[in-house]
């Protein structure tokens, strides 16, 4: 729809001016003049994206410099890949890498099916009020802050009077201080992540299920299909496109571990299993003020995330499922 307007304006101007480049330029000016009120409204948006979205991308040059506050971003000395070399050569790199990959993949592998299962089960409920209330309660955690969720985890797992430990004691087990046990960090992280997000994500799948043609179910019922057969042959295939999009998005953010929860839950006893790239960036950059080094680590993290997203998108298209674009 944009084209005809430009061309109309261009043709109008072209009658007098021969050069097509110039006429197109004048057409552009006319277009801008016509849209001047809209453009004026649009200025805050441009400023926002330039300053706070593209500005930081430009600011990434400090990853290749030795940033000093006095010399500023531009005046600081270039050091090439020094920070990257230091990071990759660091013993901590492999630790962070392992932790990030493990936390990310566990969350994806165990966390991904849950909302789908929840949506399918909810869809099988005939009593509307029951379905509605369960669904509403299930996304309650989406309204709680990460601080509150973390404090609930800490309280529930408390070795002295936490609910979980009291329950264990009741069953005759020993009480356990879960949060200082490195073996328990990952399960705690993943389970609480599922608890916090499953209900929220189920909304998306429920909407997709609602979009499936009901006559498919009716036809299946006439043919004598069981509930399980209908779930397997109608509901799940109907969910496929949504499922793939969600899978691509989740893969893209797989290595972006929510540093907030890790920051709130880890402690010196569990650093070795809990420290991930994002918490490392926070500590190095903002607590120790090694801006350049931390920016390099952050850049590496973002690049990996982007590659993962593109790869998942490519694979999804390859198997014929369509991608994000």
């Amino acid at each position: 729809m944009q084209r005809p307007i430009i061309e109309a304006a261009g043709a109008d101007a072209g009658a007098r001016i021969k050069k097509p480049v110039k006429s197109r330029f004048i057409g552009m000016l006319k277009h801008m003049r016509r849209d001047r009120q809209l453009l004026l409204l649009f200025i805050p948006c441009i400023l926002f994206f330039v300053i706070f979205r593209y500005g930081p991308l430009y600011g990434l040059v400090i990853a290749f410099k030795d940033y000093s506050v006095f010399q500023g971003v531009w005046g600081s000395d270039w050091v090439g890949l020094k920070h990257f070399a230091k990071f990759f050569g660091n013993r901590e790199f492999w630790l962070l890498f392992r932790n990030t990959v493990l936390l990310g993949s566990y969350t994806l592998i165990f966390g991904f099916p849950f909302p789908i299962l929840l949506a399918v089960l909810l869809n099988e409920v005939r009593l509307q009020w029951f379905k509605k209330s369960v669904q509403t309660f299930s996304y309650l955690p989406a309204f709680l802050s990460v601080v509150i969720i973390s404090s609930m985890i800490i309280d529930f797992l408390s070795p002295t009077n936490g609910v979980i430990n009291q329950f264990l004691a009741l069953l005759g087990f020993e009480k356990k201080y879960f949060l200082i046990d490195p073996d328990w960090f990952r399960p705690i992280y993943v389970i609480s992540e599922i608890w916090a997000t499953a209900g929220y994500q189920a909304i998306i799948y429920l909407a997709a299920i609602a979009g499936i043609n009901p006559s498919l179910y009716e036809a299946a019922k006439v043919d004598g299909a069981s509930r399980f057969q209908m779930i397997k042959s109608i509901t799940l295939p109907g969910l496929m496109p949504t499922l793939l999009v969600m899978f691509i998005l989740n893969t893209g953010s797989m290595f972006r571990i929510g540093y907030e929860k890790v920051l709130l839950l880890y402690n010196p006893m569990t650093y070795d299993v809990a420290d991930v790239f994002s918490t490392y960036v926070y500590r190095k950059g903002l607590l120790e003020s090694s801006y350049s080094y931390a920016a390099a680590v952050g850049m590496f993290e973002s690049a990996v995330a982007l590659v993962m997203l593109l790869a998942a998108n490519f694979l999804s298209k390859r198997i014929g499922g369509g991608g994000l674009w």
Partner: protein, 287 residues
């Protein structure tokens, strides 16, 4: 009939599973509330589970008497109100031109905006920009760097696109300017959509923890989430003093603060359901 029985067995198992899900999300919130109303001894003995024991509101009285928490509460209210207002204003004003078909450079703007969803510079360069603009320790550090959420912008843009273009044309024939059309016609007509994205902005500000953590150093400016974090997770000196003076089980006071912090959220929760689900779904459609 065999078929009927199998069907009902499925229903029973399904209902049990779903009740389990609902309980697992409800119980923690209920438990915290119950603890906050219970007396110290019962909490320490660990025999509070389903109902408050030794019902009292002392923990709440202590929390309200404390200097830090009410101030943090007001800070959070202020940041949330201001932040959500600017979010909605920026998003609405940005979405309107983008929704007009012939808008100058529309394709370019859209590509440039969507691209930022995939290119992420990370926290350090963003922090440096906020620092360079002199926003550290001001409320604007919490408002401006996330004034527009790309996702919500695209949602609102699609909503505007689906509104009838005749409204705008009619208003233009009547000589209304774009500003007038936006503020007197489009925005009032898009209240449901604004409520939906506003809910997400509201939740984002109310629960925000990391931004104030990195951008605010002034203790007077701390929002509730930071104070909560200090109370709950770290035994800072101030925290120890707080507990000593309170001479309460720290649990009760902690949880009283959590309950107070959840009140606004739980108040919008039932009303917001419709908008919340709609917002999530709109987002998912746009992928």
């Amino acid at each position: 009939m065999v078929g009927e029985r199998r069907l009902s067995l499925f229903n029973v198992v399904n209902s049990i599973l779903l009740i389990g899900v609902a309980l697992s999300t409800l119980y923690p919130v209920w438990y915290i509330t119950v603890i906050s109303f219970s007396d110290t001894v019962s909490v320490l003995q660990g025999n509070v589970f389903l109902r408050p024991r030794g019902f009292n509101v002392e923990a709440y009285a202590e929390v309200l008497k404390d200097a830090k928490i009410p101030r943090a509460y007001l800070n959070t209210v202020y940041y949330t109100a201001l932040g959500t207002f600017f979010n909605l204003l920026f998003t609405a004003v940005a979405a309107y031109p983008l929704a007009q078909r012939g808008f100058f450079g529309r394709r370019f703007w859209m590509v440039a905006i969507v691209l930022t969803m995939f290119l992420n510079a990370g926290i350090i360069p963003t922090y440096m920009i906020v620092q360079e603009l002199g926003l550290i320790d001001t409320v604007w550090a919490l408002v401006l760097p996330n004034a527009i959420w790309t996702f919500e912008l695209i949602i609102l843009k699609s909503f505007y696109e689906n509104m009838s273009s005749q409204i705008r044309e009619a208003a233009m024939i009547d000589g209304a300017s774009e500003y007038r059309i936006l503020f007197s016609i489009i925005i009032p007509l898009s209240k449901p959509a604004l409520a939906s994205i506003g809910l997400f902005y509201f939740m984002g500000h109310w629960n925000s923890f990391f931004l104030p953590l990195i951008y605010l150093n002034d203790k007077e400016m701390f929002p509730l989430q930071i104070v909560l974090r200090d109370m709950l997770i770290f035994n800072s000196e101030s925290d120890a003093a707080l507990v000593d003076r309170a001479a309460l089980a720290p649990q009760a006071m902690k949880n009283a603060t959590i309950v107070l912090s959840m009140i606004p959220v739980l108040m919008v929760y039932p009303f917001a359901q419709k908008y919340f689900a709609k917002g999530v779904m709109l987002g998912s459609v746009k992928g």
